[in-house]
């Protein structure tokens, strides 16, 4: 075999250099290549021998990757996968609803098939159930011991994604234990991950966390410092200098509202120049709610007795300030006041969303939906991952549902160019509705859309159909 291999190498070498290779032909082949076009005949034998007798081999030892782990949630039914893929691919031409769809599937107790969607290494937003896949795509080989708990000692043996999930769980059950691990290990993590660890302290934030938070005043990361300051502010510990609060105080005013029950109201009027408005906007980010209240000479409770009034961007900045630095009581009070005030647009409340618990999100979604004038965008922000839970009756009472029939008319009746635009708007509206509705509601609205003239096979109904088919035991 070695002789043949050497002969074949000489033959190919001759042809590569542009010489006849007949002199290198093995003796056993000579009779077969005699006659016209011997070179071509030799190529036949050489090619065949090379492909059959010799096999390619990798240059290094092949090590297969670990198998992609299975997740704790079952994969969606095979029959739903084509629809799921269509929904994701349709997003290429419009605003992405990928995260919402992934959240909806997880909210229904299912995971997606890895051939249809897999998180990228940077997809930290993915629901916790996908943590093993995140580890896998990041090629983190650390595997937690099956029956071990996360402790300071075992911390290093857990992958980052699994660690985060375990800490979130631990923080809910035993805040002190989670704090102990975070306090011991945060310094060894890079800034981005330190910030992610700090986020976990937001769950059941209490005075017990203050000492650790104060220790972060000199953290290498400004983002971590800012987060620690905000959390301390929520605990009523004012860390920033009072002169900023005093400067902000000069840019707002306190008013009174109510004839009988006089309440304090923060008024944020437009300032003379855009530079002044921008400065005030920055100050809302730098000053805590407690510091502003103190500068204004009122308590936090008084400052939030009535919904703020004034320019929209000023109110949004104030809401952001409360969301970042306000105590739980303060942000709850602001939410209640603004929801009770029909004149306050619910879109101003979007900044509060990250502070809401799952329970609060579910409870708030119908109230927000009833007044959502932004095509349910605010409702989606408030609902967060708590998708697919709104009953049809609630949806039908919303402004967004009211405008659906108008969208149907426009999509049907417009001129071609306009119709394309209206069709896209109708598709987006149906998607937003589909993300929020419960399974029964999704089926009902899909049927209604068909009765309004949409083809039952129209891809605009895909998300409604997917929602309707993603039934859970708790949501039959």
């Amino acid at each position: 075999m070695r002789e043949l291999e050497a002969a074949l190498a000489r033959i190919c070498g001759a042809w590569m250099a542009g010489r006849s290779a007949l002199e290198h032909c093995p003796a056993e082949w000579r009779s077969a290549i005699e006659g016209q076009h011997s070179e071509a005949a030799l190529a036949s034998l050489t090619g065949h021998a090379t492909s059959v007798l010799f096999r390619a081999a990798p240059s290094t030892t092949l090590e297969p990757r670990p198998l992609l782990p299975t997740l704790s949630l079952p994969v969606i039914a095979e029959t739903l996968r084509p629809r799921f893929r269509r929904i994701l691919s349709a997003q290429k031409s419009g605003p992405s609803i990928e995260r919402h769809v992934i959240d909806l599937v997880a909210a229904r107790g299912r995971s997606v098939h890895p051939a249809d969607w897999m998180p990228s290494p940077r997809d930290d937003w993915a629901p916790d159930v996908y943590a093993p896949w995140l580890d896998w795509v990041r090629t983190e080989s650390k595997a937690k011991a099956a029956d071990s708990a996360l402790t300071i000692e075992s911390y290093a043996h857990w992958s980052w994604a699994q660690r985060r999930v375990a800490l979130v769980e631990l923080r809910g059950a035993d805040p002190a234990a989670a704090l102990a691990i975070i306090a011991a290990k945060a310094a060894s993590e890079p800034a981005e991950r330190r910030a992610r660890l700090l986020e976990i302290l937001e769950i059941k934030l209490s005075e017990a966390d203050a000492v650790f938070l104060e220790s972060l005043a000199d953290d290498r990361s400004e983002r971590v410092q800012a987060m620690a300051r905000a959390y301390l502010a929520r605990l009523g510990r004012i860390a920033e200098a009072g002169d900023l609060a005093t400067e902000l105080k000069e840019m707002v005013e306190l008013g009174k509202v109510g004839l009988i029950n006089r309440r304090t109201r923060l008024v944020i009027r437009p300032l003379k120049t855009s530079a002044q408005n921008a400065r005030r906007h920055d100050l809302f980010k730098l000053v805590s709610l407690a510091a502003l209240a103190r500068a204004l000479g009122v308590s936090e409770t008084q400052l939030l007795e009535a919904p703020p009034d004034g320019t929209a961007d000023g109110i949004v900045a104030f809401v952001q300030m409360v969301a970042t630095t306000g105590s739980d009581a303060a942000r709850r009070a602001l939410l209640d006041r603004m929801l009770a005030d029909d004149a306050s647009p619910v879109s101003h409340l979007r900044a509060i969303a990250p502070r809401l618990s799952a329970q609060e999100r579910r409870a708030l979604a119908p109230r927000i939906m009833a007044r959502d004038a932004d095509d349910l965008e605010t409702t989606l922000v408030i609902a967060g991952r708590e998708l697919g839970a709104v009953p049809s009756s609630t949806m039908q009472a919303s402004a967004a549902y009211g405008s659906l029939s108008k969208l149907f008319e426009n999509a049907r009746d417009g001129a071609d160019s306009r119709r394309t635009h209206e069709n896209a708007a109708l598709g987006a509206a149906l998607n937003r509705i589909a993300l929020l509705l419960d399974a029964a509601g999704a089926a009902e609205i899909a049927a209604r859309a068909v009765s309004w003239g949409l083809s039952p096979a129209d891809p605009k109904l895909d998300l409604l159909y997917l929602n309707a088919a993603l039934k859970t035991e708790t949501n039959p």
Binding site: C12, W15, M16, A17, G18, R19, S20, A21, Q36, H37, S38, E39, A40, A41, A43, S44, L45, T46, G47, H48, T50, S51, V52, R55, A56, A57, P58, S59, T60, L62, E63, P64, R65, P66, L67, L68, E78, P82, R83, R86, A90, H113, P114, A115, M118, W136, V137, V450, S455, P456, A457, D458, P459, D462
Partner: protein, 459 residues
């Protein structure tokens, strides 16, 4: 707006489209006809290997078809609507299949008749008469047959000369240096391909014309071996054809293929009735301006005939043609294979509706040889000129070297180089079986059964 005969006449692009559609009104040409609400769909077995899938909206009168026709609506869509208007009861109520759903976002709405046809009177009745009024003419048929036989003789003579030329050309390329050939492969192959076309060796010409594409996708260090293999296979093919010019397999490789009708009429065409799974589809735009659409099927039933290939060609200028099947789809069908040393290319004789795999047949893929390369070597003895051979791989994993080069590795340690970089999931899946096409030096995976279910590999 309901669908009527008048509406069909109005939407038809011209009278010839109606006439062509009337030839498709035989129910036998439509193994599938179904409806849901105002949607109707069907599958029409045309002249190609792959059936055409057609969907139409009887309300909006929009339609879509997988055929490459530039007429809209095409004859298949017109025929489907025509059948529905004549006898809607023959359309069974059914759930909307996934492929109809897929197309709903892409279909074209019903359009007014094109301006060029505005003055033309179009009639379904006239179209039907045009078909019915074509009486057979025995004398004309005999003349046609005689002319055809003469053409065949002429063709054989000119192809024999061209095959000699090709062998000489191959020897020249080898003697003057393969490095130079690889630098100018496109131009040189185009020139000899043009001579082969003139000599009526159309299939050989296409193969030579496509050779540079096959070589250039190889890693640089493999191109010399690749060129030797390509030249060797060509020389084998011409030599084999000269020895047996009437061999249908060799004739197909050198001159051209039989038509679907010829395959069906040929008593020597092997036939197989079984459960088939659609492995996948490969669409390739060739340098000669044709697009080849290859649908790979795998026989899940008994028998040694494991794979089948439905192959169609259409002009690239006709636009993109949609796939006839959904990968993973299964159906019971009778196939007629083109007679060959290793039968592979086939046409569908008869096909049942797609079936649920769990009903009657085993859900698993058939067993694979432990050493697929040894099996390929055996097959290479029967048809050594073949450039693509399907193969079933046993259980294993897909691995990647640090350089990114991918390999399939069996549990027994047999390795096969892969053509394309695998997806992340393919690298993390346990492969129970995999099907691919061996291209002489590398394997192009089509589909696999894994611990995550079926995986498709895009070409």
């Amino acid at each position: 707006m309901g669908l009527t005969r008048g509406a069909i006449e109005a939407m038809a692009p011209d009278q010839s489209a109606l006439t062509a559609a009337s030839a498709l009104l035989k129910p036998a040409k439509w193994p599938v006809r179904a409806r849901s609400g105002h949607l109707i769909w069907g599958e029409c077995q045309g002249s190609g290997a792959n059936p055409y899938r057609v969907v139409a909206d009887t309300d909006e009168q929009g339609s879509k078809c997988t055929c490459p026709s530039r007429k809209f609506p095409c004859k298949h869509a017109i025929a489907l609507m025509w059948l529905f208007v004549e006898d809607g009861a023959t359309f069974q109520n059914a759930d909307i299949p996934a492929w109809v759903n897929d197309w709903m976002g892409r279909r074209r709405k019903g359009a007014p008749a094109p301006s060029g046809a505005a003055g033309e009177a179009k009639s379904l009745g006239t179209a039907r008469e045009a078909i019915a009024d074509a009486p057979p003419d025995p004398k004309a048929e005999a003349r046609k047959r005689a002319a055809s036989e003469k053409r065949a003789l002429d063709t054989r003579r000119s192809v024999r000369t061209a095959a000699e030329d090709l062998d000489g050309w191959i020897s020249d390329q080898l003697r003057t240096g393969l490095s130079g050939f690889l630098n100018e492969a496109g131009e040189r192959c185009r020139r000899i391909a043009a001579r082969l076309v003139d000599a009526k060796a159309g299939a050989l010409a296409s193969r030579v014309d496509e050779m540079p594409s096959r070589l250039l996708v190889l890693p640089a260090e493999q191109r010399i071996d690749g060129a030797v293999a390509e030249f060797g296979k060509l020389a084998l093919l011409t030599r084999a054809w000269r020895a047996a010019p009437d061999d249908p397999d060799l004739r197909r490789e050198v001159i051209g293929s039989e038509t679907r009708e010829e395959v069906l009429a040929n008593a020597g065409s092997p036939r197989l009735e079984s459960l088939f799974e659609v492995l996948g589809e490969r669409t390739l735009t060739r340098r000669d301006g044709l697009v080849s659409q290859a649908t790979w099927l795998m026989n899940l039933g008994a028998g040694a005939q494991r794979f089948a290939l439905l192959l169609d060609f259409f002009p690239a200028s006709a636009g993109r043609r949609s796939g006839a099947f959904v990968p993973g789809e299964r159906f019971i069908a009778e196939l007629a294979f083109y007679p060959a040393h290793l039968p592979l290319r086939a046409v569908i004789v008869r096909r049942d509706q797609s079936i649920d795999a769990s009903n009657r047949w085993s859900d698993s893929w058939p067993d694979a040889a432990a050493d697929p390369l040894a099996e390929l070597a055996e097959q290479a003895l029967a048809a050594p000129w073949r450039t693509e051979t399907p193969v079933l791989l046993p259980a294993g994993r897909i691995c990647a070297e640090a350089s990114g080069r991918a390999w399939w590795r069996s549990h027994d340690g047999i390795v096969v180089p892969l053509r394309n970089a695998p997806s992340a999931l393919a690298l993390g899946a346990s492969i129970e079986r995999a099907a691919g096409v061996w291209e002489g030096a590398r394997l192009s995976l089509i589909a696999a059964r894994t611990n995550w279910g079926r995986l498709g590999f895009d070409a």
